[in-house]
């Protein structure tokens, strides 16, 4: 029987889970935002990873069919997207119920009808908007977390209602999201997949009905799927039931991250994230001797030996300056998404000088520079540079870069940080 391994990283900002097979391949990934209830965050990430693994296993077992009809791979990807939408919808319904309850307990009886009516309108719009985004795979680089996806549309739709609704509707969301986020919402995997297939059938049928001129671009896989709507699901249905029922037996597990002690894992399966980052970097790049990890709330410089074992580490855990949370705050201040931050900074012509990487003071300095007319890209360029300078000083404290250097953590996905880190590495 196949063996699987579970890894959970209960971080300060996000909770991640992966499923690894016995060939050391990652076959399932799950991620969610960490919330007050760590156990719920870990469980959601774990379930996401298991669902993801089931789809991956399905693709593997359909290897021959996919080879014969490559559009099936596209079908499965689309199916996953719709499946995620249905998960979103289940949570959204739960949130809607919570919001109705909040209305009943929080607002005066005479205000309740109008708020409930507004909620009804907005909620239907949000569901429709989000469905479109999922079906068109349009979420792209945006946050994939329930709270963020819901709120983005909700915020936009509430704005359309007129200013009188803004405060009560925001209060409604704020008071309702936390209990919903801290609750495990059960899903019936098989039922959701079947429903997803139904939604997909409708999607392809609808696309096929449109005149060809309206298709946005030439997409042979989609064309094939549209032509084979009725048949596309058939070979899959056989696998779905098998895979959905398939247990993913976990032979061993490892838990890490700030919340690791809260995971119900045996003590020997709990590892500090410092060791995990070092070992992970070593596994990917065996010549790595220095690892820089910039996560949501701390920065670590780790020295590692030829076996991937940590020799020493330095941490900046007293201050979130320059960490993911800082970037998130800056993005909020500028009204852009976290993922747009780095790309905007890449356009910097002349990096502004940023003195404070302190999250608390960041807003003030940002606005002062804006008042002076400094272009946004230049401000962001300077800001990313400042983050890197700060990280470099931590690296220096830990003994500098020895041999190959690996950069990990959420901030490693930011292209501007990579740019300035490259530049700093080249300057002796």
């Amino acid at each position: 029987m196949n063996k699987f391994y579970l890894g959970i990283d209960l971080g300060s900002t996000t909770s991640k889970a992966i499923i690894v097979n016995q060939n050391d391949e990652i076959i399932g990934r799950g991620i969610t935002n960490t919330r007050a209830n760590y156990e719920v965050a870990a469980e959601i990430a774990r379930l996401e990873a298991i669902y993801d693994a089931r789809f991956a296993l399905m693709k593997r077992s359909m290897h021959a069919e996919i080879e014969a009809s490559p559009e099936l791979a596209r079908y499965i990807s689309d199916l996953e997207e719709v499946f995620r939408y249905l998960e979103f919808r289940t949570r959204a319904y739960r949130l809607n119920r919570q919001m109705a309850d909040t209305t009943a307990t929080y607002f005066a009886p005479e205000r309740q009808p109008s708020i409930l009516a507004a909620l009804g309108t907005v909620f239907a719009q949000v569901i429709a908007d989000v469905k479109t985004q999922y079906l068109q795979s349009a979420l792209g680089a945006k946050s994939q977390f329930f709270r963020d996806i819901f709120f983005e549309q909700y915020n936009a739709r509430v704005a359309e209602l007129g200013s009188g609704y803004y405060d009560p509707m925001m209060t409604l969301f704020d008071k309702s999201i936390t209990p919903v986020e801290n609750e495990i919402i059960p899903f019936d995997f098989v039922a959701l997949v079947h429903e997803a297939m139904e939604v997909l059938r409708e999607k392809y049928a609808e696309l096929a009905d449109r005149p060809p001129s309206r298709a946005s671009s030439f997409d042979p896989e989609l064309d094939l799927l549209m032509g084979n709507v009725a048949r596309a699901g058939d070979p899959i249905r056989r696998y779905i039931d098998r895979i959905a029922e398939q247990e993913i037996p976990i032979a061993n597990m490892v838990g890490t991250g700030y919340g690791r002690a809260l995971l119900p894992f045996p003590k020997e399966c709990i590892r500090s994230e410092i060791l995990c980052h070092a070992y992970g970097a070593h596994a990917c790049f065996p010549e790595t001797r220095t690892v820089l990890d910039i996560g949501g709330q701390d920065t670590k410089a780790i020295q590692v030996d030829a076996q991937g074992l940590v020799t020493s580490f330095q941490m900046n855990d007293r201050c979130a300056a320059g960490c993911g949370r800082y970037l998130g705050y800056i993005a909020d201040e500028l009204g852009i998404t976290l993922n747009e931050l780095g790309t905007t900074a890449l356009a910097s012509q002349q990096d502004a000088t940023i003195c404070s990487t302190c999250t608390v003071f960041a807003g003030a300095e940002l606005r002062e520079l804006q008042n002076l007319g400094v272009p946004r890209a230049d401000i962001l360029g300077g800001l990313h540079k400042a983050i890197v300078t700060r990280a470099m000083s931590l690296l220096a404290r830990s003994g500098g870069v020895r041999n190959e250097f690996t950069f990990t953590g959420g901030v490693a996905r930011n292209p501007a940080v990579l740019k300035y880190l490259d530049a700093a590495e080249e300057t002796p």
């Binding site: 700030y258 590892r271 020295q303 020799t311 580490f313 330095q314 941490m315 007293r318």
Partner: protein, 440 residues
């Protein structure tokens, strides 16, 4: 598998008290009583410091010592330092000033009530033995202002920058003792300097020092019978609090040595606040003072993981005796000078590194840890250099944590635990790898 699971409460074990512990408690209580009664008994009071303390000389003049650092750390352990520090900050001391100083100033501002609740007498003499910590000078400048008219005797110890104590240095110090310190002590105490009396105390000091070295060397055993840091700070208590050179100290250390030897013979592990350690899993050398405000919690982070400190630099803060130095009745003032010169805070970084390196090798440590104290310049300066140097020379796991002496605001349990967890896991990995290599 579901994620939620109830957690069982850990069992609480009774506190074990050995005879030496009782003895020490009595000694310190007697000292506080003597201080409180100083006005009635007419004994003169000297305020002075632990590093470079001239205990035997103070005893030769039949004076009583007050150690502000010890009062501060005891206030810290009794959870009373926060308010005193706040008062000193309101009085004008900066947030960055040594928290021992602020605790002491706060104590003054609150009627000089000592940590045991007894009112401490004001000083008749401020004896500033300066051994590498610049803050000591500024501290006594503050005390001079708070106690106007009280004479100050300063003994300046030259920094042993090249790692070698020269005859010139010794002579310079002996001259200060003879021309500055002793005359002031004579004037304040109203007694003549009696070198034969000093020699008797120095002889007793050397006896205690022999025993101290043996006690701290017991950690060569595997498992170690003692923790040389968390218990070590108690063991050095009497010798650092003015008892060096007394028969009481010799008796205490003889008793302690017997207990420790017995534990070593029986292959027993150290005593912790929750009883004897189950198993020694990691042997550490630690640099830097401990945190006092959360001392028990801090210690627990180690003994819960089976970590035992086999040597520490902090327990040498009142004198380095393991390289052969002893107070010498035949050369009284010269040996006091040599004692001050070789105090840990007066040693250069290369010398400190060598000392720590020897300790790591001799006591077979698995790792080296630094507890960096936010407000202690004399210990903190150069610690990263020490760490990197030892990491490079010995290829052992090293780690760096941060806290403070007696300011509870700077003790972050979660941060420290997170770093220590990683450190212990690093050592565990190393040990596992070493075992694999051995087997294959």
């Amino acid at each position: 598998m579901s994620i939620a699971q109830p957690k069982a409460a850990p069992p609480v074990r009774p506190v074990v008290k050995e005879r030496s512990m009782v003895l020490q408690k009595e000694m310190l209580a007697d000292q506080f009583r003597a201080l409180t009664a100083a006005k009635e008994t007419g004994r003169k009071v000297v305020y002075t410091f632990v590093p470079g303390n001239l205990s035997e000389l103070i005893q030769a003049f039949d004076m009583l010592p007050v150690y502000p650092e010890i009062n501060a750390l005891q206030w810290g352990m009794r959870k009373g330092s926060a308010g005193l520090i706040r008062d000193a900050e309101n009085y004008g001391f900066s947030e960055d000033v040594c928290t021992y100083v602020k605790c002491d100033i706060g104590m003054f501002l609150n009627g000089n009530e000592g940590p045991t609740g007894e009112r401490l007498p004001p000083p008749d003499l401020l004896l500033l033995s300066y051994t590498g910590c610049f803050t000591f000078m500024k501290w006594f400048e503050s005390l001079q202002k708070l106690y106007p008219g009280v004479p100050t005797a300063m003994l300046h110890t030259p920094y042993v920058a090249d790692g070698v104590v020269t005859d010139d240095m010794v002579e310079y110090m002996v001259r200060q003792l003879r021309d500055e310190v002793i005359p002031k002590m004579e004037a304040v105490s109203g007694r003549r300097y009696d070198e034969s009396k000093l020699a008797v105390h120095l002889g007793l000091a050397a006896e205690a020092e022999d025993l101290i070295v043996k006690i701290f060397e017991s950690t060569r055993a595997v498992p170690s019978p003692i923790d040389a840091y968390f218990a070590g700070v108690y063991y050095i208590g009497p010798v650092n609090a003015g008892f060096r050179g007394t028969p009481a100290a010799v008796e205490y250390y003889r008793q302690l040595h017997e207990e420790v030897s017995e534990r070593a013979r029986a292959g027993r592990t150290p005593i912790t606040p929750e009883g004897e350690l189950d198993e020694e899993r990691f042997r550490l050398v630690v640099e830097g003072p401990p945190n006092w405000t959360h001392f028990r919690e801090f210690w627990k982070l180690f003994y819960d993981m089976g970590a035992v400190v086999v040597a520490s630099s902090y327990t040498k803060v009142g004198g380095v005796f393991d390289d052969g130095f002893r107070h010498d009745p035949d050369r009284p003032l010269e040996s006091l000078a040599r004692y001050c010169l070789t105090c840990y805070t007066n040693l250069s970084l290369p010398t400190r590194i060598e000392m720590l390196e020897r300790a790591i090798v001799d006591y077979r440590a698995d790792g080296f840890l630094i507890n960096s104290i936010k407000s202690c310049n004399s210990f903190s300066a150069g610690q990263l250099l020490i760490m990197r140097e030892l990491e490079g020379r010995l290829s052992i796991p090293v780690s760096f944590i941060e806290s403070d002496l007696v300011d509870p605001r700077y003790f972050s349990y979660a941060n420290i635990k997170n770093r220590l967890d990683s450190f212990f896991q690093v050592m565990e990995q190393r040990k596992a790898l070493a075992r694999t290599v051995e087997v294959s």
